[in-house]
């Protein structure tokens, strides 16, 4: 073990604090509204804290650091599109304002209101598959990270995974979104300390000149100039940028964990303000971990696997005593992400799949308490699945691309269908079905490709998915409008 008794004490104290807060929050949860969106009571600053905590996990650090380690400074480009997407949506309210005003709890709910229950069910299936496959690699990557940093032997990875998930499960099941908002606050203190410390101390230990020289000698111009060899051919060139801009706009509109945060805000004005400021925070969220990967490249003498670079770097540079705080910070980052993701994806399964099936069979609405029970059972089932997936799925290519492609199983269709659903009266069910189906083809193909092809063609598969979804929506709606003049009732 690399941890001293003092370090261990800090970690145990932190876990106890989080656990206690979950128990204390239970009394505030009386129905599904409190459980999923904290009864829409979240203000601007808490919203921002919560948004950051959800979208920063240990896995965020790992995939960004992997890019920095494998591609040098050029990969810093990856932090810019989310910032632009947040600014754009927060400033203009494009799509998100109408969504907020609908007061919905999950994204598929929109589809039943604007299109049909069938579309909602289909979207729910794709979202559940994409979201859970995406989430499915978290425990494996993160448990390995914890073990490397703390010095726990690698064969105990399963135990680390189970302990981590059990802790999260207990307090998520108890308090839902109310507990998540409070623990996010505690977690953000540790998380922000850890991020600043690693950056400042890393530069102090490794040295800026050393970092620049290492990147130049290891990767040459390609590691510094993202547009090398040209704007169109660069790994992080125009195609990558367009894909990422579309992808992040889609994430901010339809990614359940982010959308739940948005729907929890007090009103549409607060929601938009949270988005506007999240842009800057997301720039920082990308830049700092990518830079840690670059520092790891300069500091570590022997080449290591891209996913191992950051934990080895942290273990090597952080002094004993501070390591406990850093590990608590890392745990903090992960636990809030886990809690939110468990809550988000299980809410899709419980509300949009199981709930719809039960309602169709019994022809009755489910009571709030029954919905809550189904949601809790689903959380447990999702957790068991992701442990299994983490153990048996082999990751290939950039982890960042894997995560984006699993999300892309529904995101292109979702962005196009929501956008057209809100702003185009002639958008029809067939258009939505086709948008989702065609948009899911490129990412599905990507997941089965070999590693070399994956990295080279990721951007094309990325923007290609959005293009196909757009074509699907236009063609499908056009055909349905042409075939039936029965003017489908537009409800939004």
């Amino acid at each position: 073990m690399n941890l001293s008794v003092f370090d261990l004490g800090i970690v145990v104290f932190y876990i106890a604090l989080v656990f206690l807060s979950g128990i204390l929050m239970k009394k505030y949860v009386s129905g599904i509204g409190d459980y999923l969106v904290a009864d829409r009571t979240m203000g601007f600053n808490l919203g921002l804290v919560s948004m950051m905590c959800t979208e920063i996990g240990m896995i965020t650090y790992v995939y960004y650091a992997e890019m920095g380690y494998k591609a040098g400074f050029s990969s810093l480009v990856v932090a810019i599109p989310p910032m632009l997407a947040y600014f754009f949506l927060g400033k203009t309210g494009f799509i998100i304002k109408p969504l907020l005003e609908l007061k919905i709890m999950t994204i598929p709910e929109f589809f039943s209101r604007r299109f049909s229950k069938g579309v909602r069910f289909y979207v729910g299936i794709l979202m559940a598959i994409g979201g859970i496959l995406n989430f499915g690699v978290f425990p494996g990557v993160e448990a390995k990270f914890i073990n490397t940093v703390s010095g726990i032997p690698e064969e105990y990875v399963l135990i680390t995974m189970v302990v981590l998930l059990t802790l999260v499960l207990i307090y998520t099941l108890l308090g839902g979104m109310v507990s998540v908002i409070l623990t996010n606050y505690i977690q953000y203190i540790l998380l922000s300390f850890g991020m600043v410390f690693i950056t400042v101390y890393g530069i102090y230990v490794v040295g800026w000149d050393n970092i620049v020289n290492t990147v130049s000698t290891t990767y040459g111009e390609k590691g510094i100039n993202p547009l090398f060899p040209s704007l169109f051919k660069g790994e992080f060139g125009l195609g990558f940028f367009i894909w990422q801009l579309l992808m992040w706009t889609a994430i901010l509109v339809a990614w359940q964990a982010v959308a739940l945060r948005l729907f929890s805000s007090k009103d549409s004005k607060t929601g938009m303000k949270i988005y506007k400021w999240s842009g800057l925070m997301f720039l920082f969220r990308g830049v700092l971990p990518v830079f840690w990967g670059i520092m790891a490249l300069a500091y570590l003498k022997e080449p290591v696997d891209g996913l191992d670079a950051l934990p080895i770097f942290i273990k090597t540079i952080v002094p004993s005593g501070v390591l406990g705080l850093i590990i608590s910070g890392l745990l903090a980052a992960s636990m809030s992400t886990y809690a939110s993701y468990l809550l988000s994806w299980s809410s899709v399964v419980s509300q949009d799949l199981v709930g719809v099936v039960i309602k169709t069979i019994t022809k009755r609405d489910l009571s709030s308490k029954k919905q809550l029970l189904i949601s809790r059972i689903t959380v447990a089932v999702v957790m068991i699945f992701i442990i299994w997936w983490s153990l048996f799925h082999k990751l290939e290519g950039y982890l960042y691309f894997y995560l984006q492609m699993t999300g892309m199983l529904f995101l292109p269709g979702a962005l196009v269908s929501i956008g057209f659903g809100v702003y185009w009266k002639k958008a029809r069910n067939l258009g939505a079905y086709l948008a989702f189906t065609l948009g899911a083809i490129p990412p599905l193909l990507y997941l089965f490709l070999s590693e070399e092809v994956k990295n080279e063609w990721a951007s094309v598969f990325g923007w290609g998915g959005f293009l196909l979804a757009l074509i699907g929506m236009l063609v499908g709606s056009f055909i349905q409008n042409m075939l039936s003049n029965s003017n489908q009732k537009v409800k939004v």
Binding site: D34, A38, D39, M42, I181, Y188, V196
Partner: protein
């Protein structure tokens, strides 16, 4: 020095300072909102 190195240096420095300042700000202001949220939930849930 390569112009890209200068750009990346500025972005990294800006991110470090910006993250520190914004995090401190939202954490300080978040305490008040946390209290407000619990008061509202208490009232609603009796």
């Amino acid at each position: 020095m390569n112009v890209w190195i200068v750009i990346w240096g500025i972005i990294i420095l800006f991110s470090l300072v910006g993250f520190t300042v914004m995090s401190s700000k939202i954490l300080i202001k978040g305490v008040g909102e946390l209290k407000e949220m619990f008061e509202m939930l208490k009232k609603r849930n009796g």
